[in-house]
Structures are given as structure tokens and as C-alpha cells.
């Protein structure tokens, strides 16, 4: 079953297009990673799915309903980020109780256990928490809500390395026990690549790639060797990334549509063939500019 369907979705702020003809659909009970560079419209897309903001044009259906002002979508989804705001008058423990009265699938035992594990003070206040603690508390609310659609928008902002690891592990364990649709947007692809089943890659406000993680891992290969030979091999291929190492050596990432025999002969010709990690690949694909940061400082 498709829980999120989106056709030709567009959103503009003050005349500037953030999302542009975005079409995709997300299946039930999958963990999808939403990947893209800063300002590409990840948060905008997630907020439209959560019903916080309106689409400018196109169509978005969540549980076959338009999410904006839908009570059913709100009851069955949660949007977690570091900007979640709670009334300053309520203590953390009261906030958990309030959440449990609102979310129909709320798991209070899980919430309490996580709350204790991350050593929160039940009588503390949300607005007095540090950045990392705020993110952790919000993530607890997100996990314990057991919402059929759980959206994490950069959930690990400010968390330290060990809490981040714990969070991903908790997410995976709880997902296995209670499968549901989870969307995570993050810049740390390497941290979540083992968690994700699908990857949705945004570029220029559009759906650039939407494919299972396994396919993404094999989507491209890296070739390294003398520049001339490399040119020969890749001249009719889709080049994702190109880098010169020294004077005469090149490293090129290309779409992996080589036949096995072709790879074999490339290897024999002295080219080094490597797999490209999903996190590097995402960076290469979503790069908006040719060249790198070094070019900024060149010939000044």
C-alpha cells in the first residue's frame, strides 16, 4: 500500500520555487532516507507531508487524504525536529503524559524507559534543555508515538556520537517490533545507510533518484588510473564525479552499467575499480557546482 503519494508537487516561497514538479510515492512500513543538500527543500517537503504547510500546486495524498488540516493525518503522523515546541509551563514528564493523551498508538512504557536511559529529569523543563538534549527528548516523543508515519527531520542535531548511535539503534529495534513508515532526513548518510531501505534523493527541488539502498550501493563504480586510459573507458558513460590526482592520474565515478566482461578487461588494462560508498555517491550526485571548494581559492 502506498501511504504517501505525491504528483507534480510544487511549493514556492515569495515567488521562489523550493519544490518543483516533485513526484514520488512511499510504500507502507519502509524506512526511507531523504537526502539532499542544504536548501534543496527537504524540510519543506516533510512539512507538507505533515500538513504544516500548503502545497502551491500539484497533489499530495497521505493515507489518500490531503494532509493540510486533516485530523486523521495529524493523529497518525508525527513530525520530529529540533524546532518542536512545547508549552514552557509543563514539565518534561507532563509533556509525555500530554503526548500519550493525544497519540492513539502511544507507548508509554517505551517512552519512560528511554526517558530514564537518557537520564532526563522528570521535573525538568523543555526550554531549559541543551541542544542535544532537546533533540533527544523530541526523538523519544517521535519513537514512542508509534505513529504510522514517523518523520524525523535531522533528528540528531546536537546529539553527541554515542547518543546518535543509541538513537539509531533504538529506532531500528522499535521499527522491527512495530513496523511503520519512517522518513529520515539527514546529512550523515554514512550513519544511517545500514538503517535505510529506500533512498529518496532530492536535487533542485525535484526527485532525482528514488531507489532501494541495495541498488544505490551498486549504482556507480569508481575507476582510477592513467588519465588517458580512463578517458577512453568512460567517454560514452554518464560521469558523476571526476577528480585529477597528481598530473597523470584520474579518479572517475560513473554509472555502473558495464558488463562483467568489460570490467574484467578494464582491470586487465590496469584500471583500479572500486565501489563507491552511498554517502560519497550522494555528495557527488547532489553537487551543484563543478569542481570543488579548492577552486574558490585558486588564482586569487
Amino acid at each position: 500500500m502506498k501511504v504517501i503519494e505525491c504528483t507534480d508537487l510544487a511549493k514556492s516561497y515569495f515567488g521562489k520555487k523550493v519544490l518543483n514538479n516533485l513526484s514520488f510515492s512511499i510504500e507502507e512500513n519502509k524506512i526511507t532516507g531523504l537526502i539532499g543538500r542544504n536548501g534543496v527543500g527537504k524540510t519543506t517537503l516533510l512539512k507538507i507531508i505533515a500538513g504544516f504547510i500548503k502545497e502551491t500546486s500539484g497533489e499530495i495524498k497521505v493515507f489518500s487524504e490531503r494532509p493540510f488540516n486533516s485530523l486523521n493525518v495529524s493523529a497518525n503522523s508525527i513530525f520530529v525536529d529540533d524546532q518542536m515546541s512545547f508549552p514552557p509551563a509543563l514539565q518534561l514528564y507532563e509533556l509525555l503524559e500530554a503526548a500519550s493523551s493525544f497519540y492513539p498508538n502511544w507507548d508509554m512504557e517505551l517512552a519512560k524507559r528511554l526517558f530514564d536511559y537518557f537520564s532526563f529529569d522528570p521535573k525538568g523543563y523543555h526550554n531549559r534543555l541543551s541542544k542535544g538534549k532537546t533533540s533527544t527528548f523530541n526523538a523519544i516523543v517521535g519513537l514512542a508515538s508509534h505513529s504510522p508515519i514517523t518523520i524525523f527531520d535531522e533528528p540528531t542535531t546536537g546529539m553527541d556520537a554515542s547518543v546518535r548511535k543509541d538513537f539509531y539503534r533504538a529506532l531500528l529495534k522499535d521499527y522491527i517490533a512495530h513496523p511503520r513508515t519512517i522518513i529520515i532526513s539527514s546529512h550523515h548518510v554514512d550513519e544511517i545507510e545500514n538503517l535505510l531501505e529506500d533512498v529518496l534523493l532530492l536535487k533542485d527541488g525535484r526527485n532525482h533518484l528514488h531507489l532501494p539502498m541495495e541498488e544505490l550501493k551498486a549504482w556507480a563504480i569508481g575507476l582510477k588510473g592513467p588519465t588517458e586510459k580512463i578517458q577512453e573507458w568512460v567517454n560514452d558513460k554518464e560521469i558523476v564525479y571526476e577528480n585529477k590526482i597528481g598530473t597523470n592520474t584520474s579518479y572517475v565515478v560513473v554509472r555502473n552499467d558495464f558488463a562483467d566482461s568489460a570490467l574484467q578487461s578494464a582491470r586487465l588494462a590496469g584500471l583500479e575499480i572500486t565501489a563507491v560508498s552511498p554517502s560519497d555517491l550522494c555528495v557527488y550526485i547532489t553537487n551543484q557546482t563543478k569542481g570543488g571548494i579548492d577552486d574558490v581559492f585558486k588564482e586569487r
Binding site: Y13, F52, F63, N69, L71, S74, A75, A98, F102, P148
Partner: protein, 246 residues
Amino acid sequence: MSLKNVNLTEVVKRQYFFKLKANIDAMSSLVFLQLLAMLFSMGGSNSFHSSYDQVALEVSYFSGDVIIGFTMIWAFVTAITITTRQYRNHDFSFVTNRLSSSLSNILFLLTASIIGGITAILARNLLLVFKYIFSEEQIYGIPLTFQDLLLGVSATIIYLFAVSAIGYLIGALVQISKAFVVLIPVLFIGMLFIDGVMNRDPFIAYVFEFYVMESSFGLFFVKMVSTAALFFIASISILNRLEVRR
């Protein structure tokens, strides 16, 4: 995870109880304001002095008007406050849509008006008790029957609810555009000026006459509550289109 359907009434009810807890600060500011108003009223709202030969006469009037006035300002400010972005975001951390958020806000404002109305009238009586105990002057008062008290409380509650409806609408307008922060006072004061220049009774006087001078309680009730309802409906339809957390 299976989908759960929720209905509007259930969500509004939960939000209402949630807001009673979350907006507890409004209640503490009510207590503070009413104490302050009592302090101001201690000196009497109106007094005159006359002397003849050896006799000097000084009369001061005491009333709960200042307390009720302060409570009205409180209701107005509270209504504006809960339309602000921050308060709307609180709702959207949990289950809500814009309609349920407004409906629970209105229920909260009604509750606040009831609490404000009862405490304002009681504070007036407390003021008289203070005067009676601590002052050496003679106190005269029109005897207050239970019926009068009930009438006073209900009228105050209706006033407060109407004032909060105005506040809620202004708050909603400001949420569309910050220009209304300037526009509304300019319009209001500008109207007084124009009426002054044109040498006619200010428009606000007619409004005052229509609502406040009404001598039949039934008619007063109908006028005030239906106007408040209109204001709230306007606010709901404005807030229904607003995006949150953008």
C-alpha cells in the same frame, strides 16, 4: 501500525484540558492584575469634599470598576497571546488541525472569562471587606442580593468573553500580516479624530449604546454572544488557512 481514526470532538476535548494546564501562567497573571486593581481601588474611584462652618464632609465612592476593567484588559491580552505563532506551534507538536485548535482556544477563553468574571466580582467584595475592617470612616453600601451578585457575575463573564473575541480576531489578523499592528490602532483612533472634526458623536458611542446601555439582560446576552460568535467565526476562517512552523 494500524491507522486510528479520531473525531473532532474528542481531539477538541483533549486539547482543551491540555490548554488548561499549559496556559496556567494566564491564571497567575490574572491574580496579580486583580490584586493590583484592588490596590488602585483602595483610594476610592470618585470623591468630593465640601465644608460648611465647622462641618467638613468628604465622600468617596468605592467600586469594582477598576478590577473589572483590569480583568477585561487581561482577557483581551490573553486572547491575543494564544493566537501567536508560538502557541499555535504547541498544538502542532501533538494531534490537531486548525479548526480543533481554534475551538479549544475558544473553550479555553470561555473558561478564562468565567474564572475572571467570578473572581472580579468577588474581588470587589473583598475590597469592601478590607475597607470595612481597616478604615475608620463610615461605610455605606447598597445591599447586594444574591440575584444582583449573579447578574453582576454573568454580565462580567459576557463582557470578558466578548472582549476576548475581539482580542482573538485582532490576534488572528495580526497573524496574516504584521501591518495590522499599526493599522488597527490607526483605524480606531483615526475614526475618533474624523468624528471630532466632523463635529458629530463618535461612532464608538453608538456601539457603546447598542451593547452596553442595553437594559434588558436577555437582549444584552443575545447581542453580546452573537457578536462574539461572529468574531470567532471570522477568526477561525482566517486561522484555518495559516501555515505553521514555516
